[in-house]
């Protein structure tokens, strides 16, 4: 199976591709609409500002192909901003609409803690998660963000806390998202990517 990595110009495409290749995957990096429509498996890595991600998806005409692929059940993993983009919008860029597949809006974490939420943190699993299978519950994952998704949707599989709880892992049938960076999260990160590849195959 070829994994299609959506390249919207973010810095971490290379490291996500490297992590996947280490696991033996064939990776295709693209910003072409037709390659998203016919993808067997999609990953949207995101880092930086959410307006840059959504703006770039629109500039390359990728929004509709992505929505079509998701509605058809193409396996999908959103990383960091790639998770946040699935919601209706984000307080980071109120003028831009999100993909709107999930209900709710992404908000800034509280200011009573240091932001960005930067570094290694643990998860609290709220329901059985195929993505976290075989990963010790005490595992740490690497986060680097200031905005985060709500936790009240049925898609939320695990939460993390920094100032408040937020969705760290989401699963909705074949659509997955992680707020942390599995490509930078050592052995547990690699195990999670392996789980995704297995589910997607």
């Amino acid at each position: 199976m070829i994994v299609t990595l959506i390249d919207y110009g973010a810095g971490n495409v290379t490291s996500v591709a490297r992590a996947l290749r280490r696991l033996g995957s064939e990776v295709r990096i693209t910003d072409q609409p037709e390659q998203i429509t016919d993808a067997a498996c999609l990953i949207l890595p995101g880092v930086g500002h959410c307006a840059a991600l959504l703006g770039s998806l629109d500039a390359h005409g990728l929004r509709q192909p992505l929505l079509t692929a998701l509605s058809r059940g193409t396996p999908f993993l959103g990383i960091c901003l790639g998770l946040q983009a699935l919601y209706q919008g984000s307080a980071e860029a109120p003028e831009v609409s999100g993909l709107g597949i999930l209900q709710g809006r992404v908000d800034q974490l509280p200011q009573n803690v240091k932001l960005p939420h930067m570094g290694w943190n643990q998860l609290r699993v709220v329901r059985t998660s195929r993505m976290l299978e075989g990963i010790p519950p005490t595992a740490y994952f690497y986060f680097a963000h200031s905005y985060a998704a709500p936790t009240d949707g049925v898609e939320t599989a695990a939460v993390c806390e920094h100032g408040r709880e937020f969705t760290a892992v989401l699963e909705a049938e074949r659509m997955f998202g992680v707020q942390f960076h599995p490509e930078k999260s050592g052995a547990p990160g690699a195990a999670l990517l392996e789980n995704f590849l297995r589910i997607a195959a």
């Binding site: 810095g11 971490n12 290379t14 490291s15 490297r18 992590a19 880092v47 930086g48 500002h49 200011q111 240091k114 932001l115 960005p116 939420h117 930067m118 570094g119 290694w120 943190n121 643990q122 998860l123 609290r124 010790p136 595992a139 740490y140 690497y142 680097a144 963000h145 200031s146 993390c160 806390e161 920094h162 960076h181 490509e183 930078k184 999260s185 050592g186 052995a187 547990p188 990160g189 690699a190």
Partner: protein, 254 residues
């Protein structure tokens, strides 16, 4: 469940080889960056920092190659810097495989650089490195590897840098750097309490006790050291076990 304090080994390079010196002077060879990167990645380093301390224009292609080779070894985040003066310099470093970029002298010379970097890569990728030296009752910002004085106090510059878009501060005590006499706790605590972003303490580390102090009294979010790790004076694993036994949350790799 809370955010772990981070331990960051730092590779000071001449572009190609790891070097070390005291008070930024008297450099000597301290090893191969790729070998050290692989070792620290396996030992449980939380991030790796690689700097080009020569930062000469003609050594740039060599340094970019070093970043690429180092990044290949890692499944933890990589910060790179030294000689980044423009958005284009930063793009090249990110393209080579760095997750974060660190700027120092160039940001003092042209503070808008911080905003440009933050808009392009996000604040989480912009690390403002501040070298501070105690001068007549305040901490003065030094540039050009600690050699040149500036008008800035470290406190004001840290606050301004965060306003402009820095997402993290890498704070080095010029007085303590290379002395192995412990972090400057007063400096670290003052900066950490003055800004809303994480602060990485640097300069003076040797003993596990030094790290414990900088995470408690110094209020640091992360601590960086170089030669004590390169020379195996201190192992990252043993250091983290000591910190955990003393009530500091750290990530112990499985």
């Amino acid at each position: 469940m809370s955010l772990a304090r981070r331990i960051l080994p730092c590779l000071d390079t001449d572009g190609e080889r790891v070097v070390k010196g005291v008070h930024f002077e008297g450099l000597r060879d301290a090893g191969d960056p790729v070998e050290l990167a692989a070792r620290y990645n396996a030992e449980g380093a939380d991030e790796l920092v690689v700097l080009d301390i020569a930062a000469a224009r003609d050594s740039r292609p060599t340094f970019l190659k070093t970043i690429q080779r180092v990044a290949k070894q890692l499944n933890i985040p990589l910060t790179a810097g030294g000689g980044i003066r423009s958005l284009d310099d930063a793009r090249a470093v990110v393209r080579a495989g760095a997750d974060k970029i660190t700027v120092n002298t160039a940001a003092v010379a042209r503070p808008e650089l911080l905003g440009e970097l933050s808009r392009e890569f996000g604040a989480q990728a912009v690390v403002l490195a501040i070298d501070a030296k105690r001068e007549n009752g305040f901490w003065q910002v030094r540039v050009r590897g600690g050699r040149s004085a500036t008008e800035w106090s470290a406190l004001d510059w840290a606050r301004r840098g965060v306003e402009l878009g820095a997402g993290e501060i890498l704070l080095t005590s010029v007085d303590r750097d290379g002395t192995q006499s412990g972090f400057d706790l007063a400096l670290t605590a003052a900066i950490s309490r003055a800004v809303s972003v994480p602060v990485i303490a640097s300069g003076g580390a040797k003993l596990p006790q030094h790290f414990l102090e900088v995470f408690t009294e110094g209020a640091a979010d992360a601590a960086l050291a170089a030669s004590i790790f390169h020379d195996q004076v201190q192992s990252i694993r043993a250091l983290k076990s000591f910190l955990q036994a003393n009530g500091i949350e750290v990530r112990l790799p499985c």
